[in-house]
């Protein structure tokens, strides 16, 4: 049994402390917005925030986040109004949409640290998030919009 704080709520998770945070969030906490894409930190689909920083939840265990704040896509904003989510919709970014929660969490965490990035910094920050549909042009445009307002 492990206690973790997700989106402000402390939840008791019925699994050993070395259980993958990704699967605990999805299967045991029931927050399915966070996606499984590769399981080894190569695709970014499972990105969540740990104490505000983007992390790959597939690489973390429940023990790793003990006493920390985990934020998933469901907790990024109440109603989808985070500037990154708004920019994503303005730019019509998604195709299939499966990777987008991870993309959005990565972008939101990145912009928190670097609110006015250069194009090169945006690309570098989003490098770890694969989109097989190929929405990169719109992803980078949306990150830019979220940072500059246009």
């Amino acid at each position: 049994m492990a206690n973790i704080t997700i989106n402000g709520d402390t939840k008791a998770i019925d699994a050993p402390g070395d259980t993958s945070l990704l699967w605990a969030v999805r299967d045991l906490a029931g927050l399915t917005g966070t996606k499984y894409g590769c399981g080894v930190g190569l695709c970014g689909a499972c990105t969540v925030h740990v104490d505000g920083r983007p992390e790959r939840s597939c690489l973390l265990s429940l023990d790793d986040v003990a006493g920390k704040q985990v934020t998933t896509i469901e907790g990024l904003s109440e109603d989808g109004s985070h500037p990154v989510q708004v920019a994503w919709r303005d730019q019509n970014v998604p195709q299939c949409g499966f990777c987008q929660a991870g993309q959005i969490m990565q972008a939101a965490g990145f912009l928190e640290e670097n609110p006015k990035p250069t194009d090169g910094e945006i690309k570098e920050a989003m490098e770890g998030n694969i989109c097989r549909c190929g929405c990169y042009q719109r992803i980078t445009a949306a990150v830019r919009q979220a940072s500059t307002g246009s």
Binding site: A15, P16, T19, S20, W23, A24, R26, D27, L28, G30, L31, T32, G33, T34, K35, Y36, G37, C38, G39, V40, L42, C43, A45, T72, I73, E74, L76, S77, D79, G80, Q85, W88, R89, N92, P94, Q95, C96, G97, F98, C99, Q100, A101, I104, I122, K123, E124, M126, E127, G128, N129, I130, C131, R132, C133, G134, C135, Y136, Q137, R138, T140
Partner: protein, 772 residues
């Protein structure tokens, strides 16, 4: 566990509890489109804004349905519910087809709700979402159903107000006549008492009155849910009491688990049981490959348990497959004469009389789809039936496969379709669904089968591997007098029937026998190649290796002759004409994407037009800095024409970059330009990934790649940065075609041609790698 399955209401508009338009009489309603087609030919009035035409949709299993009672309902509050019967995997059809219906009926998109159909083709018509067919086959039925509902609303209002129907105007979600005005919701009940109109009673909108069709202003219906994590994919289905299974599958197809040690697996906390699944030997259709399944309380335990299994696999007929050796065999085969599948003129004579010959050979490795959502399915099998939730491109096929595997009647199997986290052809093949059904039956509880990324990459239905060899005969003026094109590749047919080693008409029709070159002597040949792994279709299918070969060859020939590459391509295509399959030696069974040829002929004028358009927009011919180049390629596939001009820039360290792409696309009438653009942008990325990275190789029967470190994807640091999409505008009368696949084939050869122009290095084997 949370119960996410409740999002799947016992769907279908007519069942959703709202006030539906239930017609009391189907009298006179046209049940088949061929009847609609025939009638329209006699109709001189109603058809002016919409003259129906024949598509291959009529000939697909279960054809097309035109009954608005199946697809539309109107609630008393005015909410219009439209059924999306095609699967959504990123191409946008879950939005675009209902949008067509909504526009034609006069609905306000803000008041439209979309529900996803379950797998039921006798009810909804064909649901096999594949072959870039959704818009091509269904735009007409969507318009017809929209017009039917508008007519019924108009009639109901006329009756209500005691006026002639001609005095009633159906506006945007409201109906008016003089000072009378009501919303759609208030008329729903009256409208439901009316019969569905006959086709010739319908008045279709004039194209200039479309509000959504052709406008590209509608965002995808799932946009808000996707950006907030609420969208439900196959992986997101959670049922009470559900178990999760992860399966160890045989390294090579046809192998079986021999000795299995499951002690360590069963010792993992959360693991509940281990099961052996029977394997299959090709040809096995979409049957699972078998293996050993670990069933657990949750996914983490199931993966850990699966990884703790020790299994000795028996050997099978493909346990020695070595893809490198196989490519060499295909090269040898390609150099020999193949089976002639199209003969025009006399190639042998052209070669004998040639002043010069020119040969080149191109190859492509296997690829796998690598959808971002690894394969996953949930099954709840009970004694009297089964319910499935799965991201499937062909839900009715999955339903039939599950019924067969469980020995159930099809009517006792329900397949709910979730969003698909990518499809690209992989999710047409329901082996993963059958696995879930078999395991649910065995453990007596709902089971989710979750594939890991490694499973996905190693147990695909691969894109074929191929060698394409082209020879040209030239006269003393450098004019091409003949060509021989031998294509050697294992066939998809090997998945379904004993393998002959030869391709079937569907593969031949994808850029091989339909070669659009005006060369008097052609020998189009197919050399034998046996399949040693499951071969399936991957977005654009055989068009990828064919465009790779033909479009690279055209550029190489230009270089050989000192001509401009675009001019050479246009010269080879020749005059403006529609190819005549009968006169030009096409095979009797020529497959034009399942269409009647005369409705969708190979039109060189349209092909040349997209070439010229892309070239003009890209500034073809402009001088480029050192280490940079433009490349051009064009290909017709799925009856859509696409030309690409790619700008390649090679960094000092040899990294290949693509700063800019111009895509010119002629897909006939463009129903949703916004999603056409997104498909072209995505195709540029997938085409670049295919060209640079996508190589699945086999040693001793097993796939050598496993995850995104060894099977790489184009990423945000190096992708086609600006993709400009130029859509050729057409009226509705130029038949709409799909765009899900046609953007991919021109990209790899355009990259190779640009790379050559940038560096002088010619790449002929895909994948080419990411550096030079």
């Amino acid at each position: 566990m949370y119960h996410l399955a409740e999002k799947f209401a016992r769907s279908a508009a007519v069942e959703d509890g709202g006030l539906a338009i239930h017609n009391v009489s189907r009298r006179g309603f046209l049940k088949t489109s061929s009847a609609a087609f025939a009638l329209a030919a006699f109709s001189g009035t109603a058809a002016q804004a919409f003259t129906p035409y024949k598509t291959g949709g009529d000939d697909m299993p279960n054809g097309l349905k035109y009954d608005p009672n199946i697809f539309v309902s109107i609630g008393s509050d005015g909410t219009v519910t439209i059924v999306a019967h095609r699967s959504e995997m990123g191409q946008g059809s879950r939005t675009s087809l209902p949008m067509v219906l909504a526009d034609e009926m006069g609905a306000d998109w803000a008041k439209v709700k979309i529900v996803q159909a379950e797998g039921d083709e006798p009810k909804y018509g064909n649901q096999n979402t594949d072959g870039s067919r959704s818009m091509r086959h269904h735009i007409q039925s969507m318009r017809q159903m929209g017009a039917s509902v508008r007519h019924m609303l108009q009639q109901a209002a006329a009756k209500k107000w005691g006026v002639d129907a001609s005095a009633v105007n159906v506006g945007v979600h409201e109906v008016t006549s003089g000072s009378n005005k009501v919303g759609f919701g208030e008329l729903a009940e009256d409208a439901m008492a009316l019969p569905v109109p006959r086709f010739e009673e319908l008045a279709f909108k004039d194209e200039k009155d479309f509000r959504y069709i052709g406008a590209g202003k509608i965002s995808i219906t799932d946009l808000h849910d996707i950006t907030t994590g609420k969208a439900v994919y196959g992986a997101d289905i959670m049922l009470p009491g559900m178990k999760v299974a992860v399966i160890a599958r045989p390294p090579a197809v046809g192998e079986n688990p021999g000795k299995v040690d499951d002690k360590a697996a069963l010792a993992v906390a959360g693991v509940e049981s281990v099961h052996t699944l029977a394997g299959s030997v090709m040809p096995a259709g979409f049957a699972p490959v078998g293996g050993v399944a670990v069933v657990a309380a949750h996914t983490a335990a199931a993966i850990k348990g699966r990884d703790a299994l020790t299994i000795e696999w028996t050997k099978g007929p493909h346990s020695d497959y070595d893809s490198e050796a196989f490519t060499n065999e295909m090269r040898a085969t390609a150099a020999q004469p193949g089976k002639v599948v199209r003969k025009e003129g006399d190639w042998e004579a052209a070669r004998a009389g040639a002043a010069k010959t020119f040969e080149r050979e191109y190859s492509q490795a296997h690829m796998v789809h690598a959808t971002m959502e690894p394969l996953v399915a949930v099954a709840d099998v009970k004694a009297d039936g089964a319910e499935i939730w799965a991201p499937v491109q062909s839900p009715y096929q999955a339903r039939q496969d599950v019924a067969k595997a469980l020995g159930l009647d099809e009517k006792d199997v329900r397949v709910n379709v979730t969003l698909l986290g990518g499809g690209f052809g992989r999710k047409s093949k329901g082996d993963f669904v059958t696995e879930a059904a078999l395991l649910s039956k065995e453990v007596g509880a709902p089971v989710k089968v979750q594939w890991t990324r490694e499973d996905d990459i190693r147990h695909a239905f691969n894109h074929t591997t191929s060698v394409e060899r082209i020879e040209a005969a030239l006269d003393d003026k450098g004019k091409v007098t003949g060509m021989r094109y031998n294509s050697v590749a294992p066939s998809i047919l090997s998945t379904f029937a004993p393998d002959s080693g030869y391709q079937f008409p569907i593969e031949a029709g994808m850029g091989h026998v339909d070669l659009p070159f005006e060369v008097p002597n052609l020998s189009i040949e197919n050399g034998k190649a046996m399949a040693h792994t499951r071969i399936g279709w991957f977005r654009a299918v055989s068009n990828i290796p064919r465009a790779w070969a033909v479009q690279s060859f055209a550029a190489e020939l230009a270089d050989e002759l000192g001509k401009d590459q675009k001019d050479m391509l246009l010269e080879l295509i020749g005059s403006d004409r529609k190819l005549d399959p009968a006169k030009q030696g096409f095979p009797d069974k020529f497959w034009d994407y399942g269409e009647v040829y005369d409705e969708y002929p190979i039109d060189t004028m349209r092909l040349k037009n997209v070439i010229n358009l892309a070239a003009e927009k890209a500034g073809w011919g402009k001088s480029m800095p050192k280490g940079e180049g433009l490349g051009i390629a064009a290909h017709r596939s799925f009856v859509t024409y696409v030309a690409s001009v790619v700008h390649v820039k090679v960094d000092d360290d040899g990294t290949i970059r693509v700063p800019e792409v111009h895509m010119a696309v002629d897909c006939g009438f463009a129903a949703n330009p916004e999603r056409i653009r997104s498909q072209m942008e995505g195709a540029a990325v997938m085409g670049m990934t295919a060209a640079l990275h996508s190589g699945i190789t086999y040693k001793a029967g097993a796939v050598e790649q496993a995850n995104f470190d060894t099977y790489e994807m184009v990423r945000a640091s190096n992708f086609p940065e600006i993709v400009h999409t130029h859509i050729v505008e057409h009226p509705f009368s130029v038949h709409a075609a799909g765009v899900g696949e046609p953007g991919v084939p021109p990209i790899p050869p355009a990259i190779a041609n640009a790379l050559f122009n940038a560096t002088g290095q010619r790449m002929r084997d895909m994948p080419i790698g990411d550096t030079v």
